[in-house]
Amino acid sequence: MNITELTVHELKEKLDKKELTSQEITKAYIDRINEKEKDVDAFITLTTEEAMKQAKEIDEKRAKGEKVSSYAGIPIGIKDNMCTKGVKTTCASKMLENFISPYNATVVEKLNNEEIISLGKLNMDEFAMGGSTEYSYFKKTKNPWNLNKVPGGSSGGSAAAVAAELVPFALGSDTGGSIRQPAAFCGVVGLKPTYGLVSRYGLVAFASSLDQIGPITKDVEDSAILLNMIAGHDSKDTTSQEIERKDYTKALKNDVKGLKIGIPKEYFGEGINKEVKEKIFEAVEKYKELGAIVEECSIDVADYALATYYIIACAEASSNLGRFDGIRYGYRTKEFENLKDIYRNSRSEGFGQEVKRRIILGTYVLSSGYYDAYYKKAQKVRTLVKKQFADAFKKYDVILTPTAPTVAFNLGERSNNPLEMYLADICTVPVNIAGLPGISIPISVDKQGMPIGLQLIGNYFEEEKLLNAAYTLEQAIKFRENYKPEFKK
């Protein structure tokens, strides 16, 4: 039995049947990390020693017959923008290179309560700004399918770690596609929940009205399992919703008969790679075979949504990142005589190019004279985008699009042209602008063997419907059984 190949629900079964211990599982992952991490570079901080200690404690509890949580003793990886008390939280930035949070993020607390064991903190684009994880201050994570390609981003470390079986599952965060796009690039499942379903408390903010934490997993069932663990109202986050607790695994019915799927034609325009399109249409055919009702529809605000996204996200980021001033924590310049030097030099030296670019853009669109033309207008366009989706969901249960216009690209290929890079987010961004849930599942690979992701978008808090639609397709396609990352050099 190859332990690291197993999904979380398979691991749970083995734990329940006492065929495996938490220590065996944790050890298997640590061995795998020791073997593959040097190729993939997914982690910023490893906490393997602490993980083994916890695994031992949980095994002892189990052996004594003490009550443990359902998934107790299963390891996880956490994107390095979620605060962990006692373990560095860097946001892949020089600014926070040595930062240790005085508190745990709510999701981290929840995982602790579930007795899930953290193996470490995963690489990302600095402050989650980017789509390739190349903007990490520390290292470039490689795509396990082809080590010359990017894993996507910003949750590239999380997606690559799951794909490379360095962790059984991982947490990512998604502001404009940062869970779904790397999941698509790495051939794993990535879910961005409805805005407000998962607490943002302790997630280092990039864009507060768009950020959402979600699972990156090997399959849809694991996604439902991890969502069960992290979803729920949190009084520390006023944007978190009070909704009834659900067991998302119960929604996985493997049945889409009568499910109405809308295919917005605007998402299949010239910007979308031909092979990606073909594979998506094959999957659409599969849905039809499974009894779903598929119709073409129109959501023509994608361009507006993207422009709106960059205005709003950068505006919020420019304000959110003001607190990194070299006074209470974080990087402080060595070159200073006065306060102004501390501010300017610390921020200029501590932030990377992309972060500075977005702070500049965000400051610009909020500055006097431009606020109305950009920010205010964007807030109205946001209402328009929401409206269009609301109209679409009157007719359809889910909306289907590609996750990304292309498969994973080569390292270094795009990082010099920010606009081009931003345009690659066109399929994922509208979901964040509207606050809807979206999931990416791998459906096939292109000729080079790189995975292609399909995105399903659901209505507010209809994760159950979304997960079931994804699960049913996954069961029919059997991607995991047909394709495996090869660590191609």
């Binding site: 946001c91 949070s101 944007t239 304000s319 003001g322 990194f324 006074i327 209470r328 306060l339 500055s367």
Partner: protein
């Protein structure tokens, strides 16, 4: 042109710290003082990933203040971020309110020499206070203490309706007393929980346009506000008279030199980039919510004043001075409740207590003794245990070292001498020592009696019962 040809125009932005138990966006205590950075948590220290949650009392208190100042209460309101860098502002933005404040378009009435005047309020909004900068021992650096960061404030913005330093003081005192009455702020100016940004401009009388204004920030005593306005008015008139132009700028008032100084260099023009805070959801208040607060409003100074005229038969002037401060007014009511002697209480408050406050430059909220102490003092005088003269000494002691007046007189041996033989002894002694006065009295100079009584008081250190002294002197002199 002369000083009299100019009209002074003043508008105030008053910041009052709300007396909630906890900060505006986190559960840390608002208590004044404490070791540096001990009333703090990850939220008010702006640790990465933290989020604000609005304290319900802050909204309630702001609405209360709005209702007590005749404001319209906004049904729809929100929080905005005001972005700027300063070491006492850990998030690099202050959560405030920009275009949708909780309260708008109010007014308060003040009593001036020309009669009652309405001062319009533009708005009242909620926001968070900043931390504090201290200096290190060697004066080389500054030290940031964030205990105050996140303490809730309301900012009360007036229209430029004030026309003199005196009016400004009356307005501020009135505003302060309203906030004290409705118990939303303790308004302790010496602790900085009430402070004002003062905008001053001058214009030629009859001019339609306002002159260019200057702003003096963070003023926290009536005395310096009055002085600063007077200085600034003179300065502006001098500049205009010399053919110069007033620059719109922020000034710092220096109490020691009695001058204003430019605070910010002009190239640092601020652009606060206000935008709605995405971490907080909007505020929507129902009519019912607002009505419930209105119903629960405590009695305001106006109605207390009217009640005092009838219930206690006070004079208009007495009632107005008492109700100008909630602390004085409460002291009066509580002491009266115990002593049942409103006249005596009001006399003590308006004469000796007010005089002492003035001398010591204290505000009524700094009176160190209780209403029980005052009532007891009055009762001791009524009973004849002490004289009025001793009473004044007891009051002075109450300001220094507050405790029960009976204890004070006991400890100081101030109990009044009412023993007939003891008094007689003193009277005879005084008479024998002052033959000239005795002769004067007998020659018809009534005044001499007062002198003799005074001498007897002196000899008994004020403890002799004055009525008995009087009576006995007359008896003896008749002999």
């Amino acid at each position: 042109m002369s000083r009299e040809d100019y009209e002074v125009v003043i508008g105030l932005e008053v910041h009052a710290e709300l007396s909630t138990k906890t900060k505006i966006f986190c559960s840390c205590p608002t208590e004044f003082g404490g070791e540096p950075n001990t009333h703090c948590c990850p939220i008010c220290m702006a640790m990465p990933g933290t989020l604000p949650v609005l304290n319900e009392k802050v909204v309630e208190y702001a609405v209360k203040a709005g209702l007590a100042t005749n404001c319209e209460i906004s049904r729809d309101s929100k929080n905005d971020r005001k972005n700027y860098f300063y070491p006492d502002l850990p998030k690099a933005y202050q959560i405030s309110q920009f275009d949708k404040p909780l309260c708008e378009k109010g007014y308060i009435e003040i009593e001036t020499e020309e009669g009652t005047k309405k001062i319009r309020l533009t708005r009242i909004h909620i926001e968070e206070d900043a931390g504090k900068l201290n200096h290190d021992e060697y004066g080389r650096g500054s030290l940031v203490d964030l205990n105050r960061a996140g303490v809730p404030l309301i900012e009360i913005v007036s229209e430029p309706d004030l026309r003199s330093a005196n009016e400004t003081e009356i307005y501020l005192r009135k505003l302060k007393s309203i906030l004290e009455y409705i118990e939303v702020s303790d308004c302790k100016m010496q602790e900085g929980s009430l402070r004002a940004d003062v905008n001053v401009s001058v214009r030629k009388k009859g001019a339609k346009e306002f002159g260019t204004r200057t702003e003096m920030k963070n003023m926290n005593s009536f005395r310096s506000i009055v002085r600063a306005i007077e200085y600034e008015v003179e300065r502006q008139i001098d500049i205009i008279e010399d053919g110069g132009k007033i620059e719109q700028e922020t000034l710092r008032w220096d109490d020691v030199s009695g001058k204003t100084f430019t605070m910010r260099d002009k190239e640092d023009a601020q652009d606060y980039r206000y935008f709605p805070d995405p971490d907080l959801v909007a505020i929507r208040l129902s009519d019912e919510y607002i009505e419930n607060i209105r119903k629960a409003l405590p009695e305001l100074p106006e109605s207390r004043r009217i009640r005092y005229l009838e219930e206690y038969k006070l004079t208009e002037k007495e009632a107005r001075i008492l109700t100008s401060s909630k602390y004085l007014s409460d002291l009066f009511e509580e002491a009266t409740k115990i002593s049942n002697n409103p006249k005596a209480v009001v006399n003590w408050i308006l004469s000796d207590i007010s005089k002492t406050l003035n001398e010591k430059e204290l505000e009524p909220d700094q009176i160190p003794f209780t209403a029980e102490n005052l009532a007891e003092l009055i009762a001791l005088i009524e009973k004849g245990t002490i004289s009025n003269t001793i009473g004044k000494k007891v009051l002075a002691e109450l300001f220094e070292n507050p405790k029960s007046p009976s204890k004070i007189i006991e400890e100081n041996g101030w109990v009044q001498i009412s023993d007939e033989s003891a008094i007689k002894e003193v009277v005879l002694k005084v008479l024998s020592e002052n033959e000239q006065s005795v002769a004067d009295y007998k020659a018809g100079k009534e005044k001499a009696l007062g002198f003799l009584v005074g001498q007897a008081m002196k000899q008994t250190k004020g403890k002799a019962n004055p009525q008995m002294l009087n009576k006995m002197f007359i008896e003896e002199l008749k002999k």
